[in-house]
Symmetry: C2
Subunit: 133 residues, 2 copies
């Protein structure tokens, strides 16, 4: 686990993974404008680190070769259970704007939720899974 | 989830939580000597942060009032599923010294494993759950 944490590094890395996983963000610009307030140099450093760790891949887009699109690898998408448990814990214990009952709903529907995350990843479905709250 | 990550902060916080949860560490000295190589000032800062966040409590020991003993709160022990998923992911994807088949075993016995972690916490069982590997 120590090694996993070394790879993931810090909260920014996990936020980037979450944004790729459920919010449909893909480009550097998407992350910059995502409202988390990440500094450009930190964002660039974290994306590189995640790529080196084999958690994301960076690909040039067909339509516009200057644009790079980020995507989770198999190893990256398999972090879904970690993020789901963290989300459930957060909704249950921290003050959030999440609707009441969400934690329970997520807990009761873990397998369905994880299946949908995997499907979206496999099919490159660009729609956000969760509305922002 | 952003708020959860703010609370947990970084890898050191999660390692401290793990060490309280499964390795039976309790005192400042235990953490210092745990082999993770955490600097004294960072350790002190993280312990304070976790206490402020309501994830751990600090209590003076009955036998030796100079010694402070740390313990997970209810909120803290409920991070067990997050750590378990992180462990499973790490064993599956990172090079570790963990025995082959451990990831599968943990995956298949999630509920039993989480139940045992809770029991140990409730009964203040000081024995490490996992041998170090």
């Amino acid at each position: 686990m120590s090694i996993s944490l070394e790879t993931l590094g810090d909260r920014w890395s996990l936020l980037i993974i979450r944004d790729l996983m459920v919010r449909g963000l893909r480009t550097f610009k998407d992350f910059q404008e995502s409202g988390e307030g990440i500094a450009t140099n930190i964002l660039a450093e974290r994306l590189t680190r995640l790529e080196v760790a084999g958690i994301i891949t960076a690909t040039r887009e067909e339509e516009d070769r200057r644009r790079i699109s980020y995507r989770l690898t198999q190893k990256g998408i398999e972090l879904a259970p970690v993020l789901l448990e963290l989300l459930i814990w957060g909704v249950r214990h921290e003050k959030t704007d999440a609707p009441a009952g969400l934690a329970r709903k997520l807990e009761q529907q873990r397998p369905e939720f994880l299946k949908e995350i995997k499907r979206r990843w496999r099919e490159e479905d660009p729609n956000p899974l969760l509305p922002r709250f």
